[in-house]
Subunit: 203 residues, 2 copies
DNA sequence: TAAGATAGTAACTGATTACTATCTTTTGGA
DNA sequence: TCCAAAAGATAGTAATCAGTTACTATCTTA
């Protein structure tokens, strides 16, 4: 049988995280119950608490899983790119590709950002987003120095706008309930962003 | 005394909506209970159900309240603007001003968009956002035709990006937990957007 | 001013939820 | 082969929450 009874703890934790990411693609994270997670894994609800001290620790694991994978993808994308603009484009595409591969990610992130009093998971997410911004700011600063980007570019605004460009696609996908469209619209969206930040027009 | 016992139904509904908008500025909408709403109004929990058939009807009233006010503000902003770009700028500022005035609005909207199976409130919100997009598309098309905006401008992408520009500011404010910063950064953010869509550079 | 209609209270209900206590099965090493 | 520990099943518990019910206070108007 495909019964996956009795897995080692690490494997079970991994599967818990995957189940939660999957469920986020289907419903509001705030409404995901431990019973639903367990059912998705083919395990009883109580079994989850053999591996996690509480639900918050589960969310923490999910956020850690996502941030690690996303940051690795972004690093890989930026690596070896000839110019800052090419690095930004690769980063943009890596980010949107990641979302399309894991459609639950936007809902999950928004769900975490909704919390007014930050939990451990929220804090972890915020530090990831701060790191993301720093990386963006470094590339933007480099591009401004090299003359590829506008000399009068406001780095903070440009970083916020980069994230906003992704968010625009995400919000639209939440309205349409169609995550795949993000992939289609991503190149055009980045083109528009590029026109806002680059130094001169193309021929 | 300030005891607001026995208000007419319409007044009580209005106060319920205001209480909910206020509470959204302080916590995750998904965690707002009918008891908390009632407490904020100085009324018992059961009293709410004299005016609403259920919680979803309360959310519906909240979304209606917000959409009406926001659209009115946007209309007023766009009215009498000489050029499409000026109309867009006025619209952008009206939107960000509205958010700063009602800090619960972003959390509320995200909370509604999180729902996978749309409720009446969610459907109402989506139709408002669709109307918003149409309005944007009309202005953008006009600007492209008049030569103020780029001739090769993709209207859909530009509309998504406009909303994304606002979202970038909103996401940053959720991370920093500082809504007021939106007002400070809004002019720079629009400047960047303008550079992406307008036909030629300024002198 | 009497009487019906409207608005509110206090206490309760049933369903749901995160979490736990106890018993059972599986696994892997000596 | 045996056994201890790890992993899971079963069956709970206490708390929370949306919604209800029976009753009361207040307003409106004929």
């Amino acid at each position: 049988m495909a019964r996956t009874h009795h897995l080692p703890a690490e494997e079970r934790k991994e599967r818990t995280v995957r189940a939660m990411v999957e469920l986020c693609a289907e419903q509001d994270p705030a409404r995901i119950t431990t019973a639903a997670i367990a059912a998705r894994m083919g395990v009883t609800q109580g079994a989850l608490f053999r591996h996690f001290t509480g639900k918050d620790e589960m969310w923490q694991a999910v956020v850690a899983w996502i941030t690690e994978r996303l940051m690795r993808r972004l690093d890989a994308a930026v690596d070896r790119r000839a110019t800052p603009l090419m690095a930004l484009e690769a980063m943009f595409m890596a980010h949107t590709d990641f979302i399309v591969e894991h459609p639950g990610v936007p809902r999950l992130i928004f769900g975490q950002l909704q919390h007014a009093e930050p939990t451990d998971a929220t804090r972890l997410l915020r530090s990831m987003l701060a790191k993301y911004r720093e990386r963006l700011a470094a590339i933007l600063t480099e591009g401004r120095a090299s003359g590829e980007l506008r000399a009068d570019l406001n780095i903070e605004t440009a970083a916020t706008q980069f994230i906003g460009t992704v968010q625009g696609l995400v919000v639209q996908s939440l309205i349409d309930d169609d995550v795949a469209r993000i992939a289609e619209q991503a190149p055009e969206a980045f083109l528009l962003y590029r026109r806002a930040v680059q130094a001169r027009e193309e021929t």
